[in-house]
Point group: C2
Chain length 329, copies 2
């Protein structure tokens, strides 16, 4: 059963040429005479030869491996980003080592080092939070080929691909004001750059529209958090904006339990436009992010870096879109 591996040597011997000719043929077929080229090609096929990536990597210093670090491997939104990047980069010969940090800054640091020890050529990184001092220090030291997607460390000098969180929420406030809402509650997610940007959008929105009657509730990006926050809310406003769709769903459930109807009594909106949001009762009005495109762009930017070219800018901010459904007037 000992299936001896076929190497470039075997091909060379069978084709009656030297191994360098075979190697040269593979990287640039034109650099070999037509006659030998054909013979080599035939031999490669006959022996079913596949070059050993490891040996090649050792020699060239490149592995064609990309490390992709995300907060939670189980969240479809993150994986849609991964998919975008993968679709772009796999065409170019790269594979992905994926790591999920379970939202833990400690695991994140560890995973990062593991990926590095696997000699990945580059990194795509969605941070779990923005408090990872150890990792930030490490990044400053190492100067890796890396891009941030969706979230970032502001103090690290690496390209960032994200969406216009601020503008998205601001647009939503505008829309709600137009439909007649006068009092607002904003459900803010935990400390990440996007949570902060969304909050900023809310603030801009209320200020621009001269809304004085608003409240900001601090929570987490989960169903339960949205539910709990709204459950203990005393004065129900005209509109509740969830920091993401999950929080909005939680808010909706809490409101239902209070006997309120949506959108008659209160408009509820989200941010993300998850797969389920259109099927929810009521179907959720929300801010859609071009998640897949974000990933694709991240792949593109990283590829540019890996190719040794200069990138045009450090921040790639994609636009959002307001999706109006039944949870708002």
């Amino acid at each position: 059963m000992k299936n001896k591996r076929i190497t470039i040597k075997d091909v060379a011997k069978h084709a009656g040429v030297s191994i360098s000719t075979v190697s040269r043929f593979m990287s640039n077929p034109d650099s070999v005479s037509e006659k030998l080229g054909e013979k080599i090609q035939k031999t490669i096929e006959k022996l079913n030869y596949h070059p050993n990536r490891i040996a090649r990597s050792l020699r060239t210093g490149t592995t064609k491996l990309i490390g992709f670090l995300i907060p939670d491997i189980t969240n479809p939104a993150f994986l849609l980003i991964v998919k975008g990047a993968e679709d772009y980069l796999k065409k170019r010969g790269y594979s992905f080592i994926l790591g999920g940090a379970n939202h833990s800054v400690k695991e994140e640091t560890k995973l990062f080092k593991t990926l590095i020890s696997q000699n990945v050529d580059g990194f795509i990184f969605i941070p779990s939070g923005n408090q990872n001092d150890e990792l930030a220090e490490f990044l400053k030291l190492h100067n890796l080929k890396m891009v941030f997607v969706d979230r970032r460390y502001e103090e690290i000098n690496a390209p960032y691909i994200g969406v216009d969180n601020t503008g998205g929420v601001e647009k939503m406030v505008d829309y709600l004001v137009r439909t007649g809402c006068k009092s607002f509650v904003y459900l803010c997610g935990e400390k990440t750059s996007s949570a902060r940007e969304r909050l900023e959008g809310f603030l801009k929105g209320v200020s621009k529209n001269r809304i004085k009657d608003y409240q900001i509730l601090q929570g987490e990006f989960t169903f339960e958090s949205g539910y709990n926050l709204v459950k203990k809310l005393e004065n129900i406003p005209d509109a509740i904006l969830g920091g993401n769709d999950l929080m909005a769903f939680g808010a909706i459930e809490a409101l239902k339990e209070k006997g309120l109807s949506i959108p008659e009594d209160v408009s509820v909106t989200g941010f993300d436009d998850m797969f389920f949001s259109k099927y929810y009762k009521p179907a959720l009005t929300t801010v859609r992010q071009p998640i897949y495109e974000m990933g694709k762009m991240a792949g593109r930017v990283l590829f540019t870096i890996l190719s040794g070219k200069k990138i045009r800018k450090m921040n790639y901010i994609l636009d959002t879109e307001i999706i109006i459904r039944d949870s708002s007037k």
Copy 2:
């Protein structure tokens, strides 16, 4: 900026020993005298030396990389399996290269070869369908270290970790009969081993309970498919069993549009117990699979194989659990 990589040579030179001593110290500290061991350890720390995995791989023939091939990178259920396996194997020094086949048999074959060319030590595989003859042929030829999870090719001789699909649906039929249902419709998913096993469970269930009034509708594992199938259903039965939760949701929507109430007019059940199923209106009665545990078991079995030990059995079938919520009487 040319950060020259620190190699075993540097450590040897600084510590005043030969490289073989350093190497030996790393793989087995006791094989080196205490005095030298300490000196080497100090030097390693001082220089912040990390062995080059690529070089090691070339020499030892092992990469500590696992290939994980799934039908759809965007489906949280598959990723929960991945997570289970990852949690088990990352403790043991393995990283994952993840590939999503987009439910395409063609992409699947290609990805498989890509992963092999990355010299992964082992494979965990959730097939996209069971029609991939080319891949099956390839697998027979290559005799890789691999396990199937969730779905399998019956003709390939590799361990399989799955759930008792048959028993799960059978239990559900029993339960529905007990609540008084007399006529049934089963919404069957596309051709995979688990779809077949679930259908078998339905058939066993109706036969055991002497139910004559039943119908099987062939579709796909999607919301839309469940919706369409039920939409054009003429005689509404007492119970509709979805091949998975998504199909059940689709069925529920179609029934609502027909003006029927659930569960008063008809009971609807699913299979999976997705994250959302408990929040759906009505909350879905379904068969829960221990998905995470499945992944963990897959990691365990693969690890056993990679360690060169014999495994006890070829099939690891985990139990399911009936979750009763509001979509059934």
